[in-house]
């Protein structure tokens, strides 16, 4: 058996998923099923104003008429939307951070998510231990259980809170922007989300403010038979800038759970939004049983001149991923970026990519997508670059590289290019390769072990994307990739 085939065997073997535990906590949840009643219940539970309920109901009516999309290159049994519970929340809703159930705090501790502001402060006092401050909004099943650093951020006029609070406290902003980037009936899963979304994060950065710390949301699914439907809305006013991180995990269960989120970003003149995701939902076991269906709609609108939106994602989890973070480049000179590393192994499937819609003059976009497929993993890059007749001198560069590890995996590339302006310069390149015997031999010959060599080569392959991640996240992503591919390598 050659060295690399041994590696392949090991890689395709059983993997550990260290976030697969279940937190035993008293919860209240809706019985499975979706109807107008469900939507009314969620809305009433959140004490929402009438317009919000109407908005949801309209989305539900739209969703009921939509066919289930089947164009993605993924295979799964039809989802029974009536078998999902659309609301699950811890029974004791805390009023402030101090009241959060200790069991929950313990869980976040276990996941490595800082939920104590003072813990950070202690870190500053402690000799040498310097951790950058990160404000966290923690979403547990259907609700947000706490948001840190709210007061400190409010000093600068930054609003960082859960979506439910935003609907109560800042209805004018929510009403103005909600659904403007991803309309209610944009697609099947966006419509479903619009009808039943239960929480999510809301960020508003006022004019000219640079957000002093990283904002992040941590999504945790805990209850069984539930879906998570969160909605995130980030608004960066003129000249504002923000870096936002998103992380997600879920317990190991034999059932497939649905996660259908919608993320909307709005960047006005000169604003800058950087949105990073490390997605590590439970991917299912080695036989492809269980795991999360991650069907997400993410879209950013560069509404203003010289605005910039960058999506960076590291996708290692989920049984099925179906997401296309997009940029609508409406403002002149706006910039859209997409950097992605997607790993599929076991029986994971991913159909992911991006859309860059060029509308304004001198708009530029960059797409770097790296896919690694191992075991029985199957993944597709699906991207659209569209240049409208108004987009004078638009520029796009796309590069998608796939790496195959093992002979039972698959990698596909489906780029779509629609250009309607002669000034547009669009380039697309794609390659597919594998770790060659030569590369491995070269490393081993220089005393680098096989496991390290694979890690080295894979990390080199993903470097273009990792260097775009915020520092802390980059380290985490690199580790995650090692865990994902390496726990079984050698």
């Amino acid at each position: 058996m050659s060295a690399s085939s041994k590696t392949i065997e090991e890689i395709t073997g059983k993997r550990g998923y260290e976030y697969g535990f279940i937190t035993d906590i008293e919860q209240e949840s809706l019985p499975p099923g979706l109807s107008e009643e469900t939507v009314r219940f969620i809305s009433a539970k959140k004490d929402e104003p009438e317009w919000m309920l109407e908005w949801r109901l309209e989305a539900l009516r739209g969703w009921l008429e939509m066919p289930h999309p089947n164009w993605a290159h993924v295979h799964y049994k039809p989802i029974d939307f009536q078998a999902i519970s659309y609301y699950a929340a811890p029974k004791n809703q805390p009023k402030s951070l101090d009241e959060v159930d200790p069991k929950l705090l313990e869980m976040y501790e276990k996941l490595g998510i800082p939920m104590h502001e003072r813990e950070m402060l202690a870190g500053v006092e402690g000799a040498g231990e310097q951790r950058p401050e990160v404000a966290v909004d923690a979403v547990f099943d259907s609700v947000s259980v706490g948001t840190t650093y709210k007061a400190k951020l409010a000093e600068q006029g930054i609003i960082f809170c859960s979506m439910s609070e935003a609907v109560q406290d800042h209805p004018e902003l929510v009403r103005k922007y909600l659904g403007t980037v991803v309309p209610r009936k944009d697609n099947f899963f966006a419509a479903l989300n619009s009808a039943v979304f239960s929480d999510g994060s809301f960020v508003y950065i006022p004019k000219g403010v640079r957000c002093p710390m990283e904002l992040s949301t941590y999504f945790r699914m805990n209850a069984g038979h539930t879906g998570q439907f969160e909605r995130t809305l980030i608004i960066a006013e003129e000249g504002a800038s923000v870096s936002y991180l998103e992380g997600c995990t879920a317990p190991m269960r034999d059932e497939n759970q649905l996660h259908a989120a919608v993320v909307e970003l709005v960047a006005l003149d000169d604003a800058d939004i950087k949105y990073s995701t490390v997605q590590n939902w439970y991917p299912g076991d080695e036989n492809g049983v269980g795991g999360i269906f991650n069907f997400v709609t993410k879209r950013g609108l560069c509404a203003g001149k010289r605005s910039r939106i960058a999506w960076t994602q590291v996708e290692t989890g989920s049984a099925i991923t179906w997401k296309y973070p997009s940029c609508v480049l409406k403002g002149d000179d706006s910039v859209g970026e997409f950097y992605s590393v997607a790993v599929t192994r076991g029986y994971q499937q991913a159909d992911t990519g991006t859309k860059m819609i060029h509308m304004g003059k001198n708009t530029r976009s960059t797409i770097i997508a790296k896919g690694i497929s191992a075991g029985h993993g199957e993944q597709s890059y699906r991207g659209l670059v569209r240049v409208l007749p108004t987009a004078k001198d638009a520029r796009n560069y796309s590069q998608c590289d796939s790496m195959l590890i093992g002979d039972k995996c698959a990698a596909h590339t489906f780029p779509y290019i629609d250009a309607q302006h002669p000034g547009a310069q669009i380039e697309h390149e794609a390659t597919t390769s594998r770790i060659s015997e030569d590369q491995l031999f070269y490393c081993k010959q220089r005393g680098i072990g096989e496991e390290e060599a694979v890690s080295l080569i894979v990390n080199g392959f993903c470097r273009d994307v990792f260097k775009k991640l915020p520092m802390e996240f980059a380290v985490e992503a690199q580790k995650l990739l090692e865990v994902t591919l390496e726990d079984s390598v050698g």
């Binding site: 995996c409 780029p415 290019i417 250009a419 390149e429 390659t431």
Partner: protein
């Protein structure tokens, strides 16, 4: 929906009104019309047809063209003239002995019309007609199989190496206006045989006509087939062609295609590489000016290991022209050591032109080398500056660079006899093309 179902029955009625054949040809035609009836015309909801605006086509009824069409001298003038070649000319889809030249037939080459092959119960036709191209997946191929009354049947015996090409010309007379023409080509190359084939499409119909050709090409081990395809239909035409090629062990297939005519011109090519050492090369140029729509859909399937494919398609768009290049490379699970390459470059010369480019890879094997690239853009500003700095006027420089972009593909034409015509068509769509003299 109603319009479509009504449309279906119109084609079925026409089929029922047509003369019946005997035996297997009739059986296959019956199957094909059933296949068409069950699928109907493609709609824009179908991924492969989402840019195709076929409404006007489906609203008009194109019945098979009646006999007796005559060609003008100007059309005959445009026929590919290759010395020493066997030539089959079809007027409105029917074999025309008057323009054809079968004298040059050499031992090992059997050329006949499809109508004759049906009458003779020819082995090749029996093996290939409606069997290489399946009607289920392509509505227009189904129509062709149901309605084709004639076509070219070319059989090259094993170990035969032909020096001169076989030229097949499908010309439409004025009578074709408002009617449908279903050209058919069956080609078989026996093992170790080598053959070149020219397929030329042209016409003088002044109103819309539906031309839906189908080519079924079967190679045997170590055979070589090189096809020069030139579509220069008259402007009001709908040209929807389909070609299916099977390439076994060590066989070589090359296609050079030019789309220069028809308001709506689409060619679907599917090539299956079915044996180790199979080699496929496809080069194409599409010109889209005025309100013309030019479309290539290629599917290259690497079914077994150690095969190689290469594709280069270039598009030049002006006016309100629209183009689609959709190229799929499929590498099956066991197709290790596949080497596949695909390139699509589009040059947009007008703000109203629209280019769609979808190069796609679907890969199920790990030890492969696959790459595709796609570009859309205008002329390189640096190159333009370079020429201008050397005293060449802007218009001249533009025309020169555009010509150079497209001529890259024209340079590799398989049949040089058609090159001057293709070059003239290119110059006629280029802004400032009249400034350039066609080089000899």
């Amino acid at each position: 929906m109603e319009a479509v179902s009504e449309q279906k029955s119109v084609y079925l009625q026409a089929f029922e009104a047509a003369d019946r054949l005997d035996g297997w040809p009739e059986e296959r035609r019956q199957q094909a019309i059933q296949a068409f009836e069950s699928q109907g015309f493609p709609t824009r909801r179908m991924e492969a047809w989402k840019h195709a605006k076929l409404t006007a086509l489906t609203q008009q009824t194109f019945k098979p063209v009646p006999e007796g069409g005559e060609l003008s001298a100007a059309t005959v003038e445009r026929f590919a003239d290759v010395a020493g070649a066997v030539r089959l000319v079809f007027v409105d889809g029917r074999f025309s002995p008057r323009y054809s030249d079968l004298d040059a037939a050499v031992p090992g080459l059997k050329v006949q019309s499809l109508a004759a092959a049906f009458r003779e119960d020819d082995g090749l036709a029996h093996e290939q007609f409606g069997r290489v191209m399946d009607a289920e997946s392509h509505a227009f191929a189904a129509l062709n199989t149901a309605f084709a009354v004639d076509g070219a049947v070319v059989d090259v015996a094993p170990n035969t190496v032909l020096d001169a090409p076989v030229v097949v010309i499908f010309a439409n007379s004025r009578k074709a206006s408002g009617h449908a023409v279903y050209p058919r080509v069956l080609l078989r190359a026996g093992s170790n045989a080598e053959v070149r084939l020219v397929q030329q499409y042209l016409g003088e119909n002044e109103d819309a006509a539906l031309i839906a050709p189908v080519s079924e090409v079967l190679l045997h081990d170590n055979a070589s087939v090189r096809i020069q395809h030139f579509q220069d239909e008259s402007l009001p035409s709908w040209h929807l062609g389909a070609m299916r090629v099977r390439v076994p062990r060590d066989a070589r297939f090359a296609l050079h295609t030019v789309t220069a005519g028809a308001r709506f011109g689409r060619t679907d090519v599917q090539v299956d590489l079915e044996g180790p050492g199979a080699d496929v090369s496809m080069n194409g140029l599409y010109l889209s000016d005025g309100e013309r729509y030019a479309d290539y859909h290629t599917v290259v399937r690497h079914v077994t290991d150690h095969s190689h494919s290469q594709q280069l398609f270039k598009g030049v768009l002006t006016g309100r022209g629209e183009s689609v290049f959709d190229g799929m490379i499929h590498v099956a699970r066991d197709a290790q050591q596949t080497d596949s390459e695909q390139q699509n470059n589009n040059l947009l010369l007008s703000p109203l032109a629209l280019a769609h480019s979808n190069p796609r890879l679907e890969i199920y094997a790990d030890d492969v080398k696959c790459a595709h690239g796609s570009t859309v853009g205008e002329l390189d500003a640096d190159a333009l500056f370079y020429l201008r700095s050397r005293g060449i006027a802007r218009d001249d420089a533009q025309a020169l660079l555009t010509f150079a972009f497209a001529n890259d593909v024209l340079g590799s034409m398989i049949e040089p006899a058609l090159a001057p015509q293709a070059r003239d068509r290119l110059l006629s769509v280029l802004p400032g093309g009249n400034l350039l003299e066609a080089p000899e």
